[in-house]
Symmetry: C2
Subunit: 263 residues, 2 copies
């Protein structure tokens, strides 16, 4: 990898950034394609986000940047426009910079999740989905699944009004999908997704019970660490197909490159 003065720039903005894989993944792609471009990690705290984004806007050779925790919501107000899934969910994880400095944001978590499902042979078309959680990840996954043509989504959340609110938003955006808030039990669904942070810590309980699931229900995660969460391990023991959280990220890189290229 040889960064010349003509290199196009990409970045990932987060706090922390020490763990991020985006520079390695992007730069490997640039090297493989012989593209004179580079992606660097930008460690930016909440207090510095507006200044950092103002600076990125002034970089004439910057094509775009990825946004990770904790800035996915705060970045929305710093974009000139938020489109697609980003607008529906109210969160952004990729921003492209137009030649005039205009910043357009979108979110690829949900689309990445759906693309990952499809790549694993789990077509969402017409499926009945159990969605655990009603936060940012659940919202992204819910919108993308509805868009991908699932027949129904049942949302459960520890705080019930949040599940009801997300169900109403989803139902309004996709009237042909049957969306409702429901119980904590995933029975009767073809796909059961954990979109909460339960499972991140070693002592966590399972986010939902898999002991009564038919062996045809696919159990999926949004959590990436550990790669095989306790939920996935339990589903595997039950004999259900499982779907790892990291596929959500793996599939986003292509989507983001398409988005950056449309600048």
């Amino acid at each position: 990898m040889n960064i010349t003065g003509k290199a196009r720039l990409y970045a990932i903005v987060g706090d922390p950034v020490a763990h991020v894989r985006v520079p390695a993944v992007f730069n490997a792609r640039f090297a493989a394609h012989g593209t004179d471009a580079a992606c660097v990690p930008l460690h930016v705290g909440a207090a510095g986000l507006a200044a950092a984004v103002g600076g990125l806007r002034a970089l004439l050779n910057l094509d775009g940047f990825v946004v990770t925790a904790p800035h996915k919501h705060a970045i929305v107000a710093l974009c000139d426009e938020v489109v697609g899934e980003g607008r529906l969910v109210g969160a952004v994880n990729a921003v492209r910079r137009g030649a005039d400095g205009r910043l357009v944001g979108d979110l690829f978590d949900g689309q990445g999740f759906v693309a990952g499902l499809r790549a694993a042979g789990h077509s969402p078309q017409g499926k009945r989905v159990f969605l655990m959680g009603a936060g940012g990840a659940a919202s992204a996954v819910g919108f993308a699944l509805a868009r991908a043509g699932v027949a129904a989504i049942t949302i459960h959340n520890r705080t019930a009004p949040r599940a009801e609110a997300l169900a109403r938003k989803l139902q309004a955006a996709y009237p042909s999908c049957d969306v409702r808030a429901g119980s904590a039990h995933p029975a009767g669904h073809d796909l059961a997704v954990n979109a909460t942070s339960v499972g991140l810590e070693p002592g966590d309980p399972l986010p939902f019970d898999v002991s009564a699931l038919p062996r045809t229900t696919v159990v999926a995660e949004v959590l990436m660490k550990p790669e095989k969460t306790a939920l996935l391990a339990a589903a595997e023991r039950r004999g259900c197909p499982i779907h790892l959280g990291r596929h959500m990220l793996d599939r986003q890189v292509d989507l983001m490159f398409e988005f950056f290229a449309a600048r």
Copy 2:
């Protein structure tokens, strides 16, 4: 070169930046030392400089950046402190970022020029110098030569009052050096330096006449393109030792790394 999330960042800010060698030189050094760091070009116009610098200040993993044309003067007001040669000349080409975001600027053009002379075996100590020009480059070279212990500096500039003003500034800073404005003829000097842009364009006249110079006078350039200017070619034909403009840049990298490391 593998940029991880833990990489320390360096940059060069300019307009244009397509021609800059700094990322290649810095990154080769990082690779040779196994340092997890990266240097990228930042293409920033005059209108975006303040925003870009505000953004760089917010990057917690940025160690510093190089500044090139046309921003060497404008950057001064955007630093929290300007030290050394930068303060004397009123121009900055390297900025380091403290852990608290504090930006300290300095200028290494003159020091780089002197270090290049020394590396080529031309000790400036006690020498009589003819300096053509009174702009930014001439000022940087003049201050660094005076600091390095030359006995005398004669400055000529097409606009005489600028030569006189630089002579006064230099004389005030280095009372033991004999500094004055003088004629366009370099006779009677041990070192004759072109510190103007005359010679950059193919049809340019020579910045000064070398036809009467003794064969002991070293003729030096600050211009880097063409590598061997018409002035240097003429001096070579005359039998004088010549000193290329690129040595000024070559020697600055070490000086800048020391400066960045002192953050």
